[in-house]
C-alpha cells in the first residue's frame, strides 16, 4: 500500500516488536506528562478513554472513528462495539465517483472499508445527485474552446482548489459562508444521518466533491494568459486579507513574465514553450510578447538544450530551461550535475551558472512509471544545486522569481496536478519585486502534537490530514518545506522540539528520500525531544503502475482512520 502507515500486527500494535517494551514504558511516561498538559488546556477526558480502548483492542481500526463533522466542539466518545456512525465522504476522480459510494465495486481497494452495504443507496440520494451535478459540469475544453491534451481535460475547468479546500478553511474548521443553494447542507445532512457508513474512506487526489459544488457556484473560470486575467475575485470568501485568487499556472506565468521584462538576459528554452504556448501552458503568451529570441522552441534533445542553456549561462545569460517533465531531465542529467552544479566549484568561481531548470515533477494522473517519478531526493543530494518545490501560488511566484534571480543553478520542481489549483494571494505577492527566500520553510498550520513535513502537492494532503486529526483532537503542525536544498533544518527541528513527534510525507520513493534526510537531521539534532520514532510516509517502492486502482495505492493518500499509532499520540 502506498500509504506509509505501519501494518498492524496480531496485537493491533503498530510498532516493531523489539521496540515495544521500551515504547510502552515511554508511552506511560509521556501519558502522564501529557495528561497534565491537556487537562490544563481543557481538553476532554474522553480522549484518554479512547486511548485505553485502543490499547486493549485487537480490532481497533474501526471503533474509534467518529465523523469530523459530527460536532464542532467535543467529540463524542464512541463505545466499543459501535459501528462507525459518521464519516466524511470526500470526492473522487471523475467518473469513478460512483465506485466509492457503492463500495461493492471496490474489491481491489483494501483501503475502502469492509462495510459494503453502506453508502450510496439510490438515485435519489442527495449525495449522488450532487455528484452527478458536478460531473455534468466537467468538460474537455478550456474556456477558449481549445481542446486539451490528453490527461489535461480538466485543467482550468475547476478554478477552485477542490481537494485542497482545507487550505482555504479557517484554522478552527469553520465552514465558509458560501451560498450554494443549500446543496451543501443537503449533503451534510445526508452524510450525518447515514448509519453504518464505512469508517475508512479514501480521499482522492482529485476533486473534493463538496468543493466542486461550492466552486461551481462561486467562481467563474476565466481565460488566463497574464497576471491581470489570472486573478479571480471571489467576493464571497470570508478571508480577512486580499480576496484575490490565482492558479499556480498563472503564478508561474506571471513570474516568468515579470522576470523576463525586468532582465533582458532571462530567456526561456524548452520543448513546446513557444508556439504551443507551453506543454502545460505555463509559458502562454510569452512568445508573442518577447519574441523567438527569448522564448526558444527546441528540437527534442534534452541533452542538447540543457547543454546549450548551461553554455549560455556560462557566458552570462540567465536561461530558464523547461523540461516537459523531470523524468526527461534524466537524459540531460550529466549537464545538470556535472556541468551546471559543479562548474562554479571546479572553476573556483570563474564560471558561474545562473540557470533555472523547471518543470513538473512527481506523479500526475495515469501516466505510468516513466512519467511519474519524483526527483526531489536525487537533485537534493547534489551540492552546487538549489532545489525548490513550491506548493501554493504564492510559493510558485516567490520561489520562481528568487530562482531566476539567484546566481546559482536552481532545480525548480513543480507539480502538474497543482497547475490548475487556485490559491489566495496577498497583495504583496502580486508585486513584481516579490520573492521568497530560498532555504526557508513555511509553517502552513500551527500545531502542538505532531509535526508533518511535506512539499509540493503533499502539503495539501498534510493539511487535509491535519484537518481530520483536528477533529479527533490531535493538533498537527504542517510544514511546507518549500526548499529541498538547502533544507530548512532549523524550522523542522524547532517544530519537532515543540511537538515531539515527526511524520515526513513525500510522494517519491522511500529509500534515500527526502524524509530519510529529514529523519536523520532530526535524530541528529533533536533526539532527546522525540517521543516516538520518526514516521516516514512515502510512495510505494515500485515503479508507478498505470492502472488507476494500483496507481492510487502507490502514492500516499489521506485516510480517516484511527491509526493506532496516532491514537497513541493523543493523551
Amino acid at each position: 500500500m502506498g500509504c506509509g502507515v505501519s501494518r498492524l500486527d496480531a496485537n493491533g500494535m503498530a510498532i516493531p516488536a523489539r521496540l515495544r517494551p521500551i515504547f510502552l514504558q515511554r508511552l506511560e511516561e509521556i501519558k502522564l506528562r501529557r495528561q497534565n498538559r491537556h487537562l490544563n488546556a481543557g481538553s476532554t477526558p474522553s480522549k484518554k478513554e479512547l486511548l485505553l480502548h485502543a490499547m486493549d483492542d485487537d480490532d481497533n481500526a474501526s471503533h474509534h472513528q467518529h465523523s469530523p463533522r459530527a460536532s464542532k466542539s467535543v467529540p463524542s466518545t464512541p463505545k466499543k462495539g459501535d459501528k462507525m456512525s459518521k464519516t466524511e465522504i470526500y470526492g473522487k476522480e471523475n467518473g469513478i465517483v460512483a465506485n466509492i459510494i457503492n463500495n461493492n465495486n471496490n474489491k481491489d481497494d483494501d483501503v475502502v472499508a469492509k462495510e459494503s452495504n453502506s453508502i450510496g443507496k439510490g438515485k435519489n440520494d442527495p449525495k449522488e445527485s450532487a455528484i452527478e451535478g458536478a460531473k455534468a459540469n466537467m468538460k474537455d475544453e478550456d474556456d477558449d474552446g481549445n481542446e486539451r491534451m490528453i490527461g489535461h481535460e480538466d485543467d482550468d475547468a475547476f478554478p477552485g482548489s477542490p481537494s485542497f479546500r482545507v487550505y482555504f478553511k479557517d484554522i478552527n474548521g469553520e465552514d465558509d459562508h458560501i451560498d450554494d443553494n443549500g446543496k451543501r447542507d443537503a449533503f451534510k445532512d445526508a452524510v450525518s444521518s447515514d448509519d453504518g457508513i464505512s469508517p475508512m474512506v479514501v480521499i482522492r487526489r482529485e476533486e473534493d466533491m463538496l468543493g466542486i459544488v461550492r466552486q461551481r457556484v462561486a467562481c467563474k473560470a476565466n481565460p488566463v494568459s497574464s497576471l491581470e486575467q489570472g486573478i479571480r475575485l471571489i467576493a464571497s470568501r470570508a478571508f480577512s486579507s486580499s480576496a484575490k485568487e490565482m492558479t499556480v499556472r498563472d503564478a508561474l506565468n506571471s513570474a516568468l513574465d515579470e522576470e523576463m521584462s525586468a532582465d533582458p538576459k532571462v530567456f526561456i528554452m524548452g520543448e513546446e514553450v513557444g508556439e504551443y504556448q507551453g506543454a502545460y501552458k505555463i509559458t502562454k503568451g510569452l512568445l508573442d510578447k518577447y519574441g523567438p529570441e527569448r522564448v526558444v522552441d527546441t528540437p527534442i534533445t534534452e541533452a542538447g538544450f540543457t547543454g546549450i542553456g548551461v553554455g549560455a549561462a556560462y557566458y552570462g545569460l540567465r536561461p530558464v530551461i523547461e523540461f516537459m517533465t523531470f523524468n526527461f531531465s534524466m537524459q540531460a542529467i550529466d549537464h545538470i550535475i556535472n556541468s551546471a552544479a559543479k562548474s562554479n566549484y571546479m572553476s573556483a568561481g570563474q564560471i558561474s551558472v545562473p540557470i533555472v531548470f523547471r518543470g513538473p515533477n512527481g506523479a500526475a494522473a495515469g501516466v505510468g512509471a516513466q512519467h511519474s517519478q519524483c526527483y526531489a531526493a536525487w537533485y537534493g543530494a547534489c551540492p552546487g544545486l538549489k532545489v525548490l518545490a513550491p506548493y501554493s501560488s504564492e510559493d510558485a511566484r516567490g520561489l520562481l522569481k528568487a530562482a531566476i534571480r539567484d546566481p546559482d543553478p536552481v532545480v525548480f520542481l513543480e507539480n502538474e496536478l497543482l497547475y490548475g489549483e487556485s490559491f489566495p494571494v496577498s497583495a504583496e505577492a502580486l508585486d513584481s519585486s516579490f520573492s521568497l527566500p530560498i532555504g526557508k520553510a513555511k509553517i502552513e498550520r500551527e500545531g502542538r502534537d505532531v509535526t508533518i513535513t511535506a512539499f509540493s502537492k503533499m502539503v495539501g494532503y498534510a493539511l487535509q490530514a491535519a484537518e481530520i486529526l483536528a477533529k479527533e483532537g490531535i493538533s498537527a503542525e504542517v510544514i511546507n518545506l518549500r526548499s529541498i536544498r538547502p533544507l530548512d533544518r532549523s524550522t523542522i527541528n524547532a517544530s519537532v522540539r515543540k511537538t515531539n513527534r515527526l511524520v515526513t510525507l513525500e510522494e517519491g520513493f522511500p529509500q534515500h528520500g527526502v524524509g530519510a534526510e529529514i529523519c536523520a537531521s532530526v535524530v541528529e539534532e533533536s533526539f532527546e525531544y522525540l517521543d516516538a520514532p520518526v514516521e516516514r510516509i512515502a510512495g510505494a517502492d515500485v515503479p508507478m503502475p498505470y492502472a488507476a486502482n494500483l496507481e492510487r495505492l502507490a502514492v500516499p493518500q489521506v485516510l480517516i482512520s484511527s491509526c493506532p499509532y496516532i491514537n497513541y499520540f493523543v493523551f
Partner: protein
C-alpha cells in the same frame, strides 16, 4: 534567428541554399527527370529512378595540405602567409608544449602528480589553431588543447600550479591535473565528460551573438567525442540557431583503444558536417601552415556569416591516451614510432622555418635546454608551495557560502583544534 516553425512547414518557401535541378517555370514544365514537389522543409525535385546514396563516396574527401613531409611547400598550394615572428613563436610554442608534456608525464610516473595527459603528435593543431584565432575567441576545449593556453600566455608555472593543485592554482586545487581553466584567457575550465562542451558551445555562441563582437566560439572534440549524443545535439543546434561556433575535431585515429574504424563507419568526421547543414573542411593536422590557414579561413566565415563551421584535422595520437593507459597493448610499436619521427609535425615545420633562415640548430638546443630548466624549476616551486587552505573546501559551491556549509566548516575547525596533532601539517588551515 529562428523562423517560426509553423511557417517553415508551408510549402513552396524553401530557405536553404541547397538547390535541386528544377527549371525556372516549375509549374509549367513537365520534365520526367526534374519534377519538383513541396514538402515540409522545402521544395524538392524527384526522380522516377530508384537510387540510393552510397554509404561511402567513391573518393574520400581530400585533405587540405600545404607542406609536404619534408617541409617543402607543395606546388600550387594556397595558404596564408606567416611572418617570421609568428612562425618562430609558433615553433617555439610547439617545442615548449612537447617538452612540457614529456616532463609532466615523467613527473606523474615518479608519483609527483596523480595524472597527466599529453598532446604529443598534435602540437601543430594546438599551436596553429591558437595562432590563427584571436584572443577574444572563446575556447571550450576537450582536454588535449593546452597549447592554446600556452599561446595565450599561460606560464609554465601556472601549468604546474594546476597539476600540483597548489594555492596558486586558479582552480583552487579543485580539479584533477590537466583540467586547466582561465577566465582571463577566455579558456573554459576543462570538463571531463566527453563532448558536453559541444552543445554548451552553441549556448555560449548564442549569448555571444548579443555582444556583437568580432569573435566566435571554438569548441574542440576528438574522433571519439563525435559518437556522443551531445555531438549531434551541439552540431544540430548550432546550425538551427545559427550560432557562431567553430567546431574543431581532432581526428587522431584513436579513442583510448578504439580505432576510428570501430568508432564510426562514415568517411571521417568531415562528411557529418553536411548532414547538419554545416560547412566543413578536412585538413592535415600535422601541417602547421595548413592548419593555420584553414582555421583562419573558417573563423572568418563563422564571424562574417554567423554560422557554424566544422574543421576536421587528421592527425595521430603519438602518446598514450593518458598516464592511465599503455597504448602498446593495442597498437604496434612501429606504428607509433613512425608517427613520432617520420611524421612529426615539429620536424616538418622546423624544416620549413629553418629553410627560411628563421631558425637554426643552436637556437634549438638553447631553447630546449632553457624550457627544460624552466619546467623543472616550476615543478620544484609547485611542489614546495602550500596547498589551498581549508576554506577553499567550502567556497564556490554556491555564489555565497550557505549556512550549512558555514556550520560544517566551523565544526571542522573545532575538530582540528581538538585533535591538533592528528591533523596533517601540510594543509594550511
Amino acid at each position: 534567428m529562428v523562423f517560426r516553425r509553423f511557417e517553415s512547414a508551408r510549402a513552396g518557401e524553401a530557405e536553404e541554399a541547397v538547390t535541386y535541378s528544377t527549371s525556372d517555370d516549375d509549374d509549367e514544365i513537365y520534365d520526367a527527370e526534374n519534377k519538383a514537389i513541396d514538402f515540409p522543409g522545402g521544395r524538392v525535385a524527384f526522380t522516377p529512378q530508384i537510387k540510393f546514396i552510397s554509404e561511402s563516396p567513391d573518393k574520400r574527401i581530400p585533405c587540405y595540405r600545404v607542406l609536404d613531409d619534408d617541409g617543402y611547400p607543395i606546388a600550387g598550394s594556397t595558404y596564408e602567409q606567416v611572418d617570421k615572428e609568428t612562425a618562430v613563436k609558433m615553433y617555439k610554442s610547439m617545442v615548449t608544449l612537447q617538452i612540457m608534456d614529456t616532463i609532466f608525464y615523467e613527473a606523474q610516473r615518479q608519483g609527483r602528480i596523480s595524472f597527466y595527459l599529453t598532446s604529443m603528435g598534435e602540437e601543430a593543431i594546438n599551436i596553429a589553431t591558437a595562432a590563427a584565432l584571436s584572443f577574444d575567441d572563446i575556447i571550450l576545449p576537450q582536454y588535449r588543447e593546452p597549447g592554446i593556453l600556452l599561446w595565450r600566455g599561460f606560464t609554465l608555472q601556472e601549468f604546474a600550479n594546476q597539476c600540483f593543485g597548489t594555492k596558486d592554482d586558479y582552480g583552487k586545487g579543485r580539479q584533477m591535473p590537466i583540467h586547466y581553466g582561465s577566465k582571463q584567457h577566455n579558456f573554459f575550465t576543462i570538463s571531463s565528460p566527453i563532448a558536453t562542451q559541444l552543445p554548451q558551445a552553441a549556448g555560449v555562441a548564442y549569448s555571444l551573438k548579443m555582444d556583437n563582437k568580432e569573435a566566435c566560439v571554438v569548441a574542440f572534440t576528438g574522433d571519439g567525442g563525435t559518437s556522443e549524443g551531445d555531438f549531434h545535439a551541439g552540431m544540430n543546434f548550432a546550425a538551427v540557431m545559427e550560432a557562431p561556433v567553430l567546431f574543431i575535431c581532432r581526428n587522431n585515429g584513436w579513442a583510448i583503444s578504439t580505432p576510428v574504424s570501430e568508432q564510426f563507419r562514415s568517411d571521417g568526421v568531415v562528411v557529418k558536417g553536411q548532414a547538419y547543414g554545416i560547412r566543413s573542411i578536412r585538413v592535415d593536422g600535422n601541417d602547421t601552415l595548413a592548419v593555420y590557414s584553414a582555421i583562419r579561413a573558417a573563423r572568418e566565415m563563422v564571424i562574417r556569416e554567423q554560422k557554424p563551421v566544422l574543421v576536421e584535422a587528421l592527425t595521430y595520437r603519438v602518446g598514450h591516451h593518458s598516464t592511465s593507459d599503455d597504448s602498446t597493448k593495442y597498437r604496434p610499436l612501429d606504428e607509433i614510432e613512425h608517427w613520432k619521427t617520420a611524421r612529426s609535425p615539429l620536424a616538418r615545420f622546423r624544416k620549413w622555418v629553418q629553410r627560411n633562415g628563421w631558425w637554426n640548430d643552436e637556437g634549438e638546443t638553447e631553447l630546449r635546454g632553457s624550457i627544460r630548466k624552466q619546467l623543472l624549476n616550476a615543478i620544484q616551486v609547485a611542489e614546495k608551495t602550500e596547498k589551498p587552505s581549508l576554506e577553499d573546501l567550502f567556497t564556490d559551491v554556491y555564489d555565497n557560502l550557505p549556512l550549512n556549509l558555514h556550520e560544517q566548516e566551523k565544526s571542522l575547525r573545532e575538530t582540528i583544534k581538538r585533535h591538533q596533532k592528528d591533523f596533517p601539517s601540510d594543509v594550511p588551515v
